[in-house]
Protein backbone atom coordinates (compact mmCIF):
# COMPACT_ATOMS: atom_id res chain seq x y z
CA UNK A 1 0.00 0.00 0.00
CA UNK A 2 2.80 2.36 0.91
CA UNK A 3 4.52 1.70 -2.40
CA UNK A 4 1.28 2.34 -4.28
CA UNK A 5 0.79 5.62 -2.40
CA UNK A 6 4.33 6.69 -3.27
CA UNK A 7 3.82 5.69 -6.91
CA UNK A 8 0.64 7.76 -7.03
CA UNK A 9 2.45 10.71 -5.44
CA UNK A 10 5.09 10.42 -8.15
CA UNK A 11 2.48 10.32 -10.88
CA UNK A 12 0.31 13.06 -9.45
CA UNK A 13 0.70 16.38 -11.21
CA UNK A 14 3.76 15.29 -13.15
CA UNK A 15 2.05 13.15 -15.78
CA UNK A 16 0.51 16.31 -17.27
CA UNK A 17 4.01 17.56 -18.04
CA UNK A 18 4.63 14.85 -20.58
CA UNK A 19 8.23 15.72 -21.36
CA UNK A 20 9.63 15.66 -17.86
CA UNK A 21 7.30 12.85 -16.77
CA UNK A 22 8.82 10.63 -19.46
CA UNK A 23 12.21 11.43 -17.94
CA UNK A 24 11.20 11.28 -14.28
CA UNK A 25 9.40 7.95 -14.32
CA UNK A 26 12.43 6.27 -15.80
CA UNK A 27 14.73 7.80 -13.20
CA UNK A 28 12.43 6.86 -10.33
CA UNK A 29 11.80 3.34 -11.65
CA UNK A 30 15.53 2.72 -12.06
CA UNK A 31 16.15 4.06 -8.56
CA UNK A 32 13.36 1.92 -7.08
CA UNK A 33 14.66 -1.23 -8.77
CA UNK A 34 18.15 -0.47 -7.51
CA UNK A 35 16.94 0.09 -3.96
CA UNK A 36 14.74 -3.02 -4.00
CA UNK A 37 17.65 -5.09 -5.25
CA UNK A 38 19.81 -3.66 -2.50
CA UNK A 39 17.12 -4.44 0.10
CA UNK A 40 16.83 -8.02 -1.19
CA UNK A 41 20.58 -8.59 -1.19
CA UNK A 42 20.92 -7.07 2.30
CA UNK A 43 18.16 -9.31 3.63
CA UNK A 44 19.66 -12.31 1.80
CA UNK A 45 22.90 -11.86 3.69
CA UNK A 46 21.23 -12.15 7.08
CA UNK A 47 21.28 -15.30 9.21
CA UNK A 48 18.72 -17.77 8.01
CA UNK A 49 15.98 -16.67 10.43
CA UNK A 50 12.65 -15.39 9.18
CA UNK A 51 12.36 -12.66 11.84
CA UNK A 52 15.79 -11.20 11.09
CA UNK A 53 15.23 -11.50 7.35
CA UNK A 54 11.85 -9.75 7.60
CA UNK A 55 13.13 -7.00 9.88
CA UNK A 56 16.04 -6.25 7.55
CA UNK A 57 13.76 -6.21 4.51
CA UNK A 58 11.27 -3.93 6.30
CA UNK A 59 14.01 -1.54 7.27
CA UNK A 60 15.53 -1.38 3.79
CA UNK A 61 12.16 -0.92 2.11
CA UNK A 62 11.32 1.94 4.46
CA UNK A 63 14.69 3.51 3.72
CA UNK A 64 14.08 3.05 -0.01
CA UNK A 65 10.70 4.79 0.34
CA UNK A 66 12.34 7.80 1.99
CA UNK A 67 15.01 7.96 -0.73
CA UNK A 68 12.45 7.74 -3.56
CA UNK A 69 10.30 10.44 -1.95
CA UNK A 70 13.33 12.68 -1.42
CA UNK A 71 14.44 12.27 -5.04
CA UNK A 72 10.91 12.94 -6.27
CA UNK A 73 10.74 16.16 -4.24
CA UNK A 74 14.18 17.22 -5.41
CA UNK A 75 13.13 16.76 -9.02
CA UNK A 76 9.87 18.64 -8.44
CA UNK A 77 11.69 21.50 -6.73
CA UNK A 78 14.25 21.57 -9.53
CA UNK A 79 11.52 22.06 -12.13
CA UNK A 80 9.50 24.40 -9.89
CA UNK A 81 6.57 21.99 -9.56
CA UNK A 82 5.74 22.12 -5.87
CA UNK A 83 3.35 19.56 -4.36
CA UNK A 84 -0.14 20.68 -3.40
CA UNK A 85 -0.96 20.84 0.35
CA UNK A 86 -2.85 17.52 0.43
CA UNK A 87 -0.13 15.60 -1.39
CA UNK A 88 2.46 17.32 0.79
CA UNK A 89 0.67 16.13 3.93
CA UNK A 90 0.49 12.59 2.55
CA UNK A 91 4.22 12.69 1.82
CA UNK A 92 5.00 13.99 5.34
CA UNK A 93 2.91 11.18 6.86
CA UNK A 94 4.63 8.50 4.79
CA UNK A 95 8.03 9.98 5.55
CA UNK A 96 7.31 9.93 9.30
CA UNK A 97 6.17 6.28 9.29
CA UNK A 98 9.17 5.26 7.18
CA UNK A 99 11.64 7.09 9.44
CA UNK A 100 10.20 5.41 12.55
CA UNK A 101 10.26 2.05 10.74
CA UNK A 102 13.90 2.45 9.76
CA UNK A 103 14.99 3.41 13.27
CA UNK A 104 12.82 0.81 15.02
CA UNK A 105 13.70 -2.04 12.68
CA UNK A 106 17.38 -1.23 12.92
CA UNK A 107 17.30 -1.38 16.71
CA UNK A 108 15.21 -4.57 16.62
CA UNK A 109 17.56 -6.19 14.11
CA UNK A 110 20.58 -5.29 16.23
CA UNK A 111 18.94 -6.97 19.22
CA UNK A 112 17.96 -10.05 17.22
CA UNK A 113 21.41 -10.51 15.73
CA UNK A 114 23.21 -9.65 18.97
CA UNK A 115 21.93 -10.02 22.50
CA UNK A 116 18.82 -12.04 21.61
CA UNK A 117 20.38 -14.21 18.89
CA UNK A 118 20.22 -17.27 21.13
CA UNK A 119 16.44 -17.24 20.67
CA UNK A 120 16.90 -18.33 17.06
CA UNK A 121 19.35 -21.15 17.75
CA UNK A 122 18.16 -24.63 18.67
CA UNK A 123 21.55 -25.23 20.27
CA UNK A 124 20.70 -22.50 22.82
CA UNK A 125 17.37 -24.06 23.77
CA UNK A 126 18.24 -23.83 27.44
CA UNK A 127 18.22 -20.04 27.21
CA UNK A 128 14.75 -19.83 25.64
CA UNK A 129 12.78 -19.55 28.91
CA UNK A 130 14.95 -16.58 29.93
CA UNK A 131 14.88 -14.93 26.51
CA UNK A 132 11.17 -15.40 25.87
CA UNK A 133 9.95 -12.48 28.09
CA UNK A 134 12.59 -10.23 26.57
CA UNK A 135 11.59 -11.16 23.03
CA UNK A 136 7.96 -10.49 23.93
CA UNK A 137 8.87 -7.14 25.47
CA UNK A 138 10.83 -6.09 22.37
CA UNK A 139 7.95 -7.08 20.09
CA UNK A 140 5.32 -5.38 22.27
CA UNK A 141 7.34 -2.20 22.54
CA UNK A 142 8.00 -2.10 18.81
CA UNK A 143 4.32 -2.76 18.01
CA UNK A 144 3.29 0.12 20.28
CA UNK A 145 5.82 2.51 18.72
CA UNK A 146 4.74 1.46 15.23
CA UNK A 147 1.05 1.90 16.07
CA UNK A 148 1.60 5.34 17.64
CA UNK A 149 3.60 6.52 14.62
CA UNK A 150 0.91 5.22 12.29
CA UNK A 151 -1.80 7.02 14.30
CA UNK A 152 0.26 10.18 14.19
CA UNK A 153 0.57 9.96 10.41
CA UNK A 154 -3.12 9.14 10.16
CA UNK A 155 -3.75 12.34 12.13
CA UNK A 156 -1.71 14.33 9.61
CA UNK A 157 -3.70 12.81 6.72
CA UNK A 158 -7.06 13.38 8.43
CA UNK A 159 -6.11 16.99 9.12
CA UNK A 160 -5.19 17.47 5.48
CA UNK A 161 -8.49 15.93 4.42
CA UNK A 162 -10.64 18.01 6.80
CA UNK A 163 -11.83 20.17 3.90
CA UNK A 164 -13.45 18.92 0.70
CA UNK A 165 -10.96 18.24 -2.05
CA UNK A 166 -10.54 21.09 -4.51
CA UNK A 167 -11.70 20.54 -8.07
CA UNK A 168 -8.92 19.06 -10.20
CA UNK A 169 -7.07 21.83 -11.98
CA UNK A 170 -6.88 22.00 -15.71
CA UNK A 171 -4.03 20.31 -17.50
CA UNK A 172 -1.33 22.72 -18.63
CA UNK A 173 -1.18 23.61 -22.29
CA UNK A 174 2.33 22.79 -23.40
CA UNK A 175 4.63 24.75 -25.67
CA UNK A 176 5.31 23.51 -29.19
CA UNK A 177 8.05 20.87 -29.19
CA UNK A 178 10.35 22.94 -31.40
CA UNK A 179 10.70 25.62 -28.68
CA UNK A 180 12.56 23.13 -26.50
CA UNK A 181 14.53 21.71 -29.41
CA UNK A 182 15.78 25.16 -30.34
CA UNK A 183 16.08 26.87 -26.97
CA UNK A 184 17.48 24.15 -24.75
CA UNK A 185 20.77 23.58 -26.61
CA UNK A 186 21.21 27.35 -26.93
CA UNK A 187 20.70 27.88 -23.21
CA UNK A 188 23.04 25.03 -22.33
CA UNK A 189 25.66 26.39 -24.68
CA UNK A 190 25.43 29.78 -22.98
CA UNK A 191 25.67 28.23 -19.54
CA UNK A 192 28.70 26.25 -20.66
CA UNK A 193 30.36 29.39 -22.03
CA UNK A 194 29.72 31.06 -18.72
CA UNK A 195 31.46 28.22 -16.91
CA UNK A 196 34.37 28.35 -19.35
CA UNK A 197 34.89 32.00 -18.53
CA UNK A 198 34.87 31.25 -14.84
CA UNK A 199 37.51 28.58 -15.45
CA UNK A 200 39.58 31.15 -17.35
CA UNK A 201 39.27 33.53 -14.41
CA UNK A 202 40.71 30.90 -12.13
CA UNK A 203 43.72 30.13 -14.33
CA UNK A 204 46.95 31.53 -12.84
Amino acid sequence: MRSLAIAELCRFGLRDYRGIWALVWRVLTALSVLLLARAASDAWGQPNRVAIYGTTLDRDLALASIVVLAVLLLIRNYYGLALEPLQRAIAIGICFICAVDVIGNTIKRELYTGYLFGWFLTSQKSLWPILRPQIMRVNDFWSTVHLVSFMFSMGIWCYALRKPLPAPSESPVLLPANVYREMSPAINMRLATFNDRLVELLKP
Binding site: Y17, R18, G19, I20, A22, L23, R26, R59, L63, I66, V67, L69, A70, L73, L74, Y78, Y79, G80, L81, A82, L83, E84, R88, A91, I92, C95, F96, C98, A99, V102, I103, T106, I107, E110, S169, E170, P172, V173, L174, L175, P176, A177, V179, Y180, M183, S184, A186, I187, N188, R190, L191, A192, T193, F194, N195, L198, V199, E200, L201, L202
Partner: protein
Protein backbone atom coordinates in the same frame (compact mmCIF):
# COMPACT_ATOMS: atom_id res chain seq x y z
CA UNK B 1 30.42 4.04 14.41
CA UNK B 2 28.40 0.84 14.08
CA UNK B 3 25.71 -0.14 11.64
CA UNK B 4 22.97 0.91 14.04
CA UNK B 5 24.17 4.50 14.39
CA UNK B 6 24.83 4.87 10.67
CA UNK B 7 21.36 3.73 9.62
CA UNK B 8 19.62 5.82 12.30
CA UNK B 9 21.62 8.92 11.36
CA UNK B 10 20.95 8.28 7.68
CA UNK B 11 17.21 7.92 8.29
CA UNK B 12 17.13 11.10 10.38
CA UNK B 13 19.17 13.05 7.82
CA UNK B 14 17.03 11.86 4.92
CA UNK B 15 13.81 12.62 6.79
CA UNK B 16 15.12 16.05 7.72
CA UNK B 17 16.02 16.77 4.11
CA UNK B 18 12.64 15.51 2.98
CA UNK B 19 10.77 17.70 5.46
CA UNK B 20 12.88 20.67 4.42
CA UNK B 21 11.92 20.00 0.82
CA UNK B 22 8.29 19.73 1.81
CA UNK B 23 8.18 23.08 3.59
CA UNK B 24 6.54 25.41 1.10
CA UNK B 25 8.96 28.10 0.06
CA UNK B 26 6.48 30.90 -0.29
CA UNK B 27 8.76 33.32 -2.03
CA UNK B 28 10.03 30.79 -4.54
CA UNK B 29 6.61 29.29 -5.21
CA UNK B 30 5.08 32.66 -5.83
CA UNK B 31 7.87 33.55 -8.19
CA UNK B 32 7.36 30.33 -10.14
CA UNK B 33 3.63 30.72 -10.30
CA UNK B 34 3.76 34.34 -11.29
CA UNK B 35 6.40 33.60 -13.85
CA UNK B 36 3.83 31.63 -15.73
CA UNK B 37 0.78 33.66 -14.95
CA UNK B 38 2.15 36.96 -16.05
CA UNK B 39 4.61 38.08 -18.58
CA UNK B 40 7.71 35.89 -18.72
CA UNK B 41 9.90 38.88 -19.27
CA UNK B 42 8.80 40.42 -16.00
CA UNK B 43 9.03 37.23 -13.99
CA UNK B 44 12.44 36.13 -15.16
CA UNK B 45 14.67 39.15 -15.38
CA UNK B 46 17.64 37.51 -17.01
CA UNK B 47 20.15 40.31 -16.95
CA UNK B 48 19.09 42.70 -14.25
CA UNK B 49 22.66 43.21 -13.11
CA UNK B 50 24.03 43.77 -16.54
CA UNK B 51 22.36 47.19 -16.45
CA UNK B 52 25.20 48.31 -14.14
CA UNK B 53 27.89 46.89 -16.35
CA UNK B 54 29.35 50.25 -17.44
CA UNK B 55 29.59 51.65 -13.92
CA UNK B 56 31.12 48.43 -12.66
CA UNK B 57 33.64 48.32 -15.50
CA UNK B 58 34.68 51.86 -14.68
CA UNK B 59 34.95 51.07 -10.99
CA UNK B 60 37.06 47.99 -11.64
CA UNK B 61 39.31 49.43 -14.32
CA UNK B 62 43.05 49.03 -13.93
CA UNK B 63 43.59 52.71 -14.67
CA UNK B 64 41.50 53.69 -11.66
CA UNK B 65 43.45 51.34 -9.42
CA UNK B 66 46.78 52.66 -10.62
CA UNK B 67 45.67 56.23 -10.18
CA UNK B 68 44.58 55.48 -6.63
CA UNK B 69 47.82 53.71 -5.74
CA UNK B 70 50.01 56.52 -7.11
CA UNK B 71 48.08 59.58 -6.05
CA UNK B 72 46.08 58.80 -2.92
CA UNK B 73 47.56 58.33 0.58
CA UNK B 74 48.23 54.60 1.24
CA UNK B 75 45.42 54.14 3.74
CA UNK B 76 42.92 55.81 1.44
CA UNK B 77 44.07 53.68 -1.49
CA UNK B 78 43.79 50.52 0.62
CA UNK B 79 40.32 51.49 1.76
CA UNK B 80 39.25 52.24 -1.79
CA UNK B 81 40.61 48.92 -3.08
CA UNK B 82 38.80 47.05 -0.31
CA UNK B 83 35.57 48.75 -1.21
CA UNK B 84 36.11 48.00 -4.87
CA UNK B 85 36.52 44.34 -4.03
CA UNK B 86 33.29 44.46 -2.04
CA UNK B 87 31.54 45.99 -5.05
CA UNK B 88 33.04 43.28 -7.28
CA UNK B 89 31.73 40.59 -4.94
CA UNK B 90 28.26 42.06 -4.98
CA UNK B 91 28.39 42.25 -8.73
CA UNK B 92 29.49 38.63 -8.88
CA UNK B 93 26.46 37.76 -6.78
CA UNK B 94 24.33 39.58 -9.30
CA UNK B 95 25.87 37.61 -12.11
CA UNK B 96 25.09 34.46 -10.17
CA UNK B 97 21.47 35.53 -10.09
CA UNK B 98 21.53 36.14 -13.84
CA UNK B 99 22.97 32.67 -14.40
CA UNK B 100 20.32 31.14 -12.14
CA UNK B 101 17.56 32.90 -14.02
CA UNK B 102 18.89 31.58 -17.32
CA UNK B 103 19.04 28.05 -15.92
CA UNK B 104 15.54 28.44 -14.51
CA UNK B 105 14.28 29.55 -17.88
CA UNK B 106 15.72 26.34 -19.31
CA UNK B 107 13.92 24.27 -16.68
CA UNK B 108 10.60 26.02 -17.24
CA UNK B 109 10.85 25.45 -20.97
CA UNK B 110 11.61 21.77 -20.27
CA UNK B 111 8.64 21.50 -17.91
CA UNK B 112 6.33 22.95 -20.55
CA UNK B 113 7.69 20.90 -23.38
CA UNK B 114 5.89 17.77 -24.61
CA UNK B 115 9.22 16.00 -25.04
CA UNK B 116 12.59 16.58 -23.47
CA UNK B 117 16.02 15.20 -24.13
CA UNK B 118 17.60 13.47 -21.16
CA UNK B 119 20.98 14.44 -22.56
CA UNK B 120 20.10 18.14 -22.51
CA UNK B 121 18.62 17.94 -19.03
CA UNK B 122 21.58 16.06 -17.61
CA UNK B 123 23.93 18.51 -19.26
CA UNK B 124 22.12 21.50 -17.76
CA UNK B 125 22.09 19.88 -14.35
CA UNK B 126 25.84 19.24 -14.49
CA UNK B 127 26.49 22.76 -15.79
CA UNK B 128 24.59 24.14 -12.81
CA UNK B 129 26.63 22.09 -10.36
CA UNK B 130 29.85 23.08 -12.08
CA UNK B 131 28.88 26.72 -11.97
CA UNK B 132 28.22 26.57 -8.22
CA UNK B 133 31.71 25.18 -7.60
CA UNK B 134 33.43 27.65 -9.92
CA UNK B 135 31.48 30.53 -8.50
CA UNK B 136 32.54 29.59 -4.97
CA UNK B 137 36.19 29.43 -6.09
CA UNK B 138 36.06 32.79 -7.87
CA UNK B 139 34.34 34.30 -4.85
CA UNK B 140 37.05 32.97 -2.59
CA UNK B 141 39.84 34.27 -4.78
CA UNK B 142 38.19 37.64 -5.08
CA UNK B 143 37.74 37.86 -1.34
CA UNK B 144 41.34 36.97 -0.64
CA UNK B 145 42.58 39.46 -3.22
CA UNK B 146 44.08 36.81 -5.51
CA UNK B 147 41.96 37.70 -8.50
CA UNK B 148 42.73 40.82 -10.52
CA UNK B 149 39.56 42.86 -10.75
CA UNK B 150 40.11 43.57 -14.43
CA UNK B 151 39.48 39.90 -15.22
CA UNK B 152 35.89 40.38 -14.26
CA UNK B 153 35.54 42.58 -17.29
CA UNK B 154 35.62 39.51 -19.55
CA UNK B 155 32.87 37.95 -17.53
CA UNK B 156 30.67 41.01 -17.63
CA UNK B 157 31.17 41.24 -21.38
CA UNK B 158 29.90 37.71 -21.71
CA UNK B 159 26.86 38.42 -19.57
CA UNK B 160 26.12 41.42 -21.71
CA UNK B 161 25.94 39.36 -24.88
CA UNK B 162 23.98 36.72 -23.04
CA UNK B 163 21.48 39.33 -21.92
CA UNK B 164 20.84 40.52 -25.45
CA UNK B 165 20.30 37.02 -26.81
CA UNK B 166 18.16 36.06 -23.89
CA UNK B 167 15.94 39.08 -24.17
CA UNK B 168 15.24 38.11 -27.77
CA UNK B 169 14.54 34.54 -26.72
CA UNK B 170 12.21 35.65 -23.94
CA UNK B 171 10.24 37.79 -26.33
CA UNK B 172 9.87 34.84 -28.69
CA UNK B 173 8.72 32.53 -25.90
CA UNK B 174 6.32 35.13 -24.55
CA UNK B 175 4.79 35.40 -27.98
CA UNK B 176 4.59 31.63 -28.35
CA UNK B 177 3.17 31.05 -24.90
CA UNK B 178 0.67 33.91 -24.83
CA UNK B 179 -2.55 32.43 -23.55
CA UNK B 180 -1.15 28.91 -23.40
CA UNK B 181 0.48 28.85 -19.99
CA UNK B 182 -0.55 26.37 -17.32
CA UNK B 183 -2.64 27.52 -14.42
CA UNK B 184 -0.64 26.20 -11.51
CA UNK B 185 2.93 25.40 -12.30
CA UNK B 186 4.73 25.86 -9.04
CA UNK B 187 1.52 26.47 -7.10
Amino acid sequence: MNDLSIVILLALALSGALLWLLIPKRKASRADASSLHSDLNEALPTARHYAYFRQIRQALSAADSEYLVHNAPPHVAQQALRERRAVARRFLMGLHEDFSNLARLGRIIAALSPEVSHKQETERFILGLKFQILYALVWLRLSTGNLPLEQLEHLTGLVGRLAMRLDTAMTEISALSAGRLPGRLGA
